[in-house]
């Protein structure tokens, strides 16, 4: 079978993106001093990346698993984690 990119994988899913409120907020100042940035590897949706030396994060496409919050070495200060507001976020059709 053909190898799928993360964009293709997430493209199969149904998402209702909350344009008004990000359910996960990242503190880029704290992240700037993080040498390993494990979120850029561990997030199953690949939503964390490094662009021009700074951490970039997009909450659309989040699978709501909570891996980033656990993998983050500065979890208390770097990631403000919550579920999306009611009715928003990923909508699994199989699960």
């Amino acid at each position: 079978m053909k190898r799928l990119s993360i964009e293709q994988l997430l493209g199969m899913n149904k998402f209702v993106v909350d344009d008004e409120e990000a359910h996960i907020k990242v503190n880029r100042e704290v992240c700037a001093s993080c040498p390993d940035k494990p979120c850029t590897w561990a997030c199953p949706a690949g939503l964390y990346s490094v662009k021009d030396g700074a951490l970039s994060f997009d909450y659309a496409g989040c699978l709501e698993c909570g891996t980033c919050r656990v993998a983050c070495p500065n979890a208390g200060s770097a990631i403000d984690w919550n579920y999306p507001r009611g009715g928003f976020g990923v909508h699994f059709r199989y699960g």
């Binding site: 079978m1 993360i6 209702v16 690949g46 698993c65 699994f92 699960g95």
Partner: protein
Amino acid sequence: MAEDKTTAIVVGAGPAGSTAAYLLAREGHEVILVERGTAPGCKNMYGGRMYSHALNRIIPEFWKEAPVERCVERELITFLDGERSVSVACRDSEWAGPGCHSFTLLRAEFDAWLAAKAEEAGALLACGIRVDDLVSENGRVVGIRAGEDEMMADVVIAADGVNSILARKAGLAGPFLARQVATGVKQIIELPAQTINERFQVNDFHGAAQLFVGDCSGGVQGGGFLYTNKNSISLGLVFNVAELSRCRMKPAEALEDFKSSPHIAPLIEGGREAEYSAHLVPEAGLGMMPELFGDGILVAGDAAGFVLNLGYTVRGMDFAVASGEAAARAVMEAKAHNDFSRNGLCRYRELLRESFVLRDLEAYRSAPEILENKRMFNQYPKLVTGLASELFTVDGKPPARLARKIYDRIRASGIGLGQLALDGWKGARGL
């Protein structure tokens, strides 16, 4: 205020929450079941199989009405190392007999069905509501807050999943460590039923469950799983989060690697991917269990860390159902004495022990530690696959008897005989 108060608010319409709500409603108690998804089940994912016993005690022969996929009749465990694999396959037709031992099922459909059972029994189901906080009075939980709205109850059952916001807000749980949880990723791959039947040697109603140990993806340790649904396969990988960070591996890519390996590719050939999902699995058992109850609150299901992975069986849903049942019964007893304090709810722990939930977690308390042993994922699969491969290879080389082959392989594996015996003893005693 008093007339607006309900007996119980259950947060999370997964198997734990819906079971609790169903039982409370069935006994005539006022209960509100709150779910953050627009429909129950739409936020939920797991590997792919539920053992029947717990729900069967509550709703006998539930499978006659519930949306289940296939009754599992074949179990396979496969050890992997690169191009090699060794499988142990077991079929027991009795598993698919009248008792229906376990089912593959899909959560979006199944969880919606179970929540509908609670609704039918009289529970009020409120979907699309994220519960943000607990409402407390004098240190006692008396309700929940969702946005601007507050709802009051005698007791709150937090069945809000592994990332339980409420257990933390109540001070019953703290943040967990990366090594205590695993990230599971899964794809649903659609295939015609007939193709699944042929590839897994089952019929339309019966299915196979396969676990993979060893080198599931490019040398990084992890476990794999495959479950056959009616018209699709659930295929996934599970990685300890600490390992995931340490190995700098991307789970989505690892799963694509796994799909293209010679052990998986022929099984899914011609399939069409339909969904990609991820979830955290509480893996540390008693080591990460929160306080199970407080004044006016109980914690059930994944929120309480009720998952048991023994390497050859992985259980979560039956624990969720049984803990939901225990929570409901504890609430009914508390109601009878009109005491919803920590003291009044303390029967919950006994009920969990009387059912299998705490009993099993306590009996297998060393399982998480045994499964953390890196040899389980690396040297042992290598040893087993290497030995099997040598056994079946005929190439004109000088003969060596079986005992010599085994001895040489063990020596070459770098595992000392003492270590091997110790691991074997620990495994046999602990798992």
